[in-house]
């Protein structure tokens, strides 16, 4: 017989530290989850473990030396990072890039989008719990892609291949055949991933309606890229402000509905198919010609008192470069607008109210690479 109300039990929230070293390979990222039983009530992310001062270092390097630093700020999609930088320099110096260089840049950027999304599938598959299979598939496909990059630029990840004005050197003679070979094997890879995960009931049970964010919230936070499109916002810089020759090729922009983890995964899967479509069209339009403008100064100097902000659609979102020059051959200030940092702001909102086991999946689905978050 209870004569009085049962006393309120004092509970304490558990603080779980998801430390800088994870089993899931996202890089050095730390978050502290405040957990009530099984449900996440608060989340505090800690970044900065990978800060190397890339923007400051670029101030001491001229416009050829800086390219090597830019592709280390986003090592998985280095061509896109280099592209923003060289486009900013070209805009200030008013250089005219030859058509052949633009087409090749487009092909390489889309190939890099493929390899970056493959990496996303690999890491995401491990987060969801499949033992290693998506990871191995991802690396199998990435190997073919970076073998191709190695044949072109010499390096597998830090290409330093784009230059202000065009490309550093000509692509090998069998470029078109190699790209077609790589596309064939990437198609098989995309098919494997699609079959492995998309219709798997357990995968759907883990990812549908988990970590959703509405379109209005996503825009307010400043998300961009696939994560934003998964919430239903039709925003793709390749369509709204076309650069290179994106207005001359046909492709669709896949959109999601709920903005949950499954949509972010599925949007990326479809983007890969669209990328392959773009690459095929570019291969047909590729013509011979020079890869650097004829009157290229030996040491590029930019006019004084100019600033420009150039943004491109990197695989992770809007990768922007803000360049201020005060004359001379080195930038006065180089700021990188990092897509992953802005997308990461949404992590707290997406995770509150979800279970702890889902917090890892949500982090994986935003697809961050810490070298871009921290620069």
């Amino acid at each position: 017989m209870v004569t009085e109300a049962a006393p309120e039990f004092e509970t304490q929230d558990l603080l779980i530290n998801v430390g800088p070293q994870h089993p899931s390979t996202h890089g050095v990222f730390r978050m502290v989850l405040e957990v009530d039983g099984e449900v996440v009530k608060g989340l505090v992310p800690y970044i900065g473990y990978l800060h190397r001062g890339a923007e400051k270092l670029c101030e001491n390097n001229d416009f050829r030396q800086g390219v090597g630093y830019m592709d280390r700020t986003e090592h998985l999609a280095a061509h896109n990072a280099e592209l923003s930088y060289v486009m900013a320099v070209e805009a200030l110096a008013e250089l005219e890039v030859p058509a052949r260089a633009q087409w090749i840049r487009m092909i390489l950027c889309e190939l890099n989008r493929l390899s970056s999304h493959f990496m996303f599938f690999g890491a995401f598959g491990i987060d969801v719990g499949v033992f290693g299979t998506p990871f191995i598939y991802a690396w199998r496909e990435r190997e073919t892609l970076i073998d191709l990059f190695e044949e072109i630029s010499g390096d597998r990840m830090m290409y330093a291949y784009f230059r202000a004005g065009g490309l550093a050197w000509e692509v090998p003679a069998n470029f078109k055949e190699r790209v077609r070979e790589v596309l064939k094997s990437s198609r098989q890879g995309v098919k494997d991933f699609d079959g492995l995960l998309t219709e798997n009931e357990i995968f759907i049970a883990r990812t549908k309606n988990v970590g959703s964010i509405s379109a209005a919230d996503a825009i307010e936070i400043g998300m961009s890229g696939s994560s934003l499109r998964a919430s239903g916002v039709d925003m793709d810089i390749r369509k709204t402000e076309p650069y290179l020759f994106y207005d001359q090729v046909e492709f669709d922009v896949p959109l999601g509905k709920n903005g949950d983890v499954f949509d972010r995964y599925y949007v990326r899967l479809q983007e890969m198919e669209q990328s392959m479509r773009i690459i095929e069209q570019c291969l047909e339009r590729l013509e011979d010609g020079p890869i650097m403008p004829e009157k290229m100064p030996r040491m590029l100097r930019l006019p004084e008192g100019q600033e420009v902000y150039i943004r491109t659609e990197a695989p992770r979102g809007e990768y922007g470069v803000y360049l201020v020059s005060k004359g001379g051959n080195k930038p006065w200030r180089l700021k990188v607008r990092s897509a992953c940092l802005s997308n990461l702001q949404a992590l707290k909102q997406m995770s509150i109210g979800q279970y702890v086991a889902d917090a890892i999946i949500i982090l994986g689905s935003i697809d961050i690479v810490l070298s871009e978050v921290d620069r």
């Binding site: 009530d36 009530k41 505090v44 499949v130 199998r140 995968f203 509150i352 702890v356 889902d358 890892i360």
Partner: protein, 374 residues
């Protein structure tokens, strides 16, 4: 009662020798299983697996065992000494106890027990206590959480497993494994009880803590599992127990559902061929376990529990009712086959329905503004 092994008359000595044989066999088998699993998993992923230690990597398990033996035996300072030390034994001894009743071939078992199946089920559920002890005795809250989850999962899936075995025992009209196998000389039990086979596989995967039910062991996503504080040879006991349990479950599966050594060859083929047959059948179950591990993601703990209680358990209860009805009224056993196939269709439908439900969003009070959780 079977004849004494090597013709020894003294039953105690005979039993002792049989037990020693089992223990010796198990250690070798487990090491071989670990190697086979690594190779098979690697092949699924288009890579090679161990290749360097010994010819084709055969000595890899031995190298791992030697490495584990050489590690420092750590114990946390505040760990409860008795609980912490005894937990590994309580996890792997019950598995070995289960071997008493498992027949490899006709007559090759430690002891013929008339309630063999019941004994096996009773004894194998003792490991759950070991998991809880490991979790609690580690003086680590994450280990305890992991241990509790493992125990919850183990208990939840024990019920469908037991009911599945009871269904088969009803059809075979005996609990003695030898008799069950002998009764399958015409048709293996999988023909009569297809739904039960599916449920047994799923519940077996959960009992073994294998994907997609390996949340306790794959807890390394967020924190370590219940074995986080164990190192060296103690940790390898848990590992040994897992593979021994896999082995024993495969043998039970081969004996109870696929007909053991009696189908399709029958008694007149020699012991050698019967052993090969049993190995093929048990091996196919193990291959299925590896295949599932490599293909499906992990279930969350609440999804796992609701799957067991809301879907598997009711299906098994209905199956037992149907079994009873058909057997009591001497109906044709083919009705059971039909009912089983219908049951599988119902299971698929229920799973699809459960998956497509929108998840209820847990309402949580917003954290106070300005409160910095550090």
């Amino acid at each position: 009662m079977s004849d004494g092994i090597f013709g020894i008359e003294n039953t105690w000595l005979d039993a002792l020798i049989r037990v020693q044989l089992i223990v010796g066999l198990m250690t070798v088998v487990v090491m071989g299983l670990i190697y086979i699993e690594r190779k098979v998993l690697a092949r699924f992923q288009q890579r090679l697996g161990p290749t360097r230690t010994g010819p084709a990597g055969l000595l890899q398990s031995l190298a791992d065992a030697l490495k584990l033996v050489g590690k420092e035996d750590l114990r946390p300072r505040n760990a409860d000494p008795w609980t912490f030390e005894l937990a590994p034994y309580l996890v792997f001894v019950p598995v070995f106890l289960g071997f008493v009743v498992v027949p490899f071939v006709a007559g090759w078992q430690v002891r013929v027990v008339e309630l063999g199946l019941i004994y096996f089920v009773a004894v194998s559920s003792l490991s759950i206590i070991g998991w809880i002890m490991a979790g609690w005795g580690s003086d680590n809250r994450y280990a305890m959480i992991g241990g509790m989850r493992a125990a919850a999962q183990g208990i939840s899936y024990e019920l469908p497993l037991v009911l599945a075995l009871i269904s088969v025992a009803m059809v075979a009209d005996s609990y003695d494994l030898n008799q069950i196998v002998a009764g399958q000389s015409k048709y293996p039990n999988i023909v009569w009880q297809p739904l039960v086979v599916v449920v047994f596989t799923i519940a077996g995967l959960a009992e073994l803590n294998r994907t997609p039910f390996d949340i306790p062991v794959g807890e390394s996503e967020v924190v370590g599992g219940p074995f986080v504080e164990y190192s060296g040879i103690r940790w390898s006991f848990f590992f040994l127990a897992e593979y021994a349990a896999l082995f024993i479950l495969s043998l039970i599966f081969a004996a109870v559902f696929l007909g053991g050594w009696a189908w399709p060859l029958g008694e007149d083929w020699g012991r050698g061929w019967q052993l090969v047959l049993v190995s093929v059948k048990a091996g196919s179950f193990m291959f299925l376990v590896f295949w599932v591990r490599v293909s499906v993601p992990r279930l969350r703990i609440d999804q796992l529990m609701s799957f067991s209680w809301k879907i598997l358990l009711p299906l098994m209860l209905v199956q037992i009712l149907i079994n009873g009805a058909v057997l009591v009224y001497h109906g044709s056993l083919w009705i059971l086959t039909l009912a089983g196939l219908v049951g599988i269709a119902v299971l698929v439908k229920l799973v699809g329905h459960a998956v497509s439900q929108p998840r209820s969003k847990v309402v949580v009070a917003a954290p106070a503004e300005g409160k910095a959780a550090s």
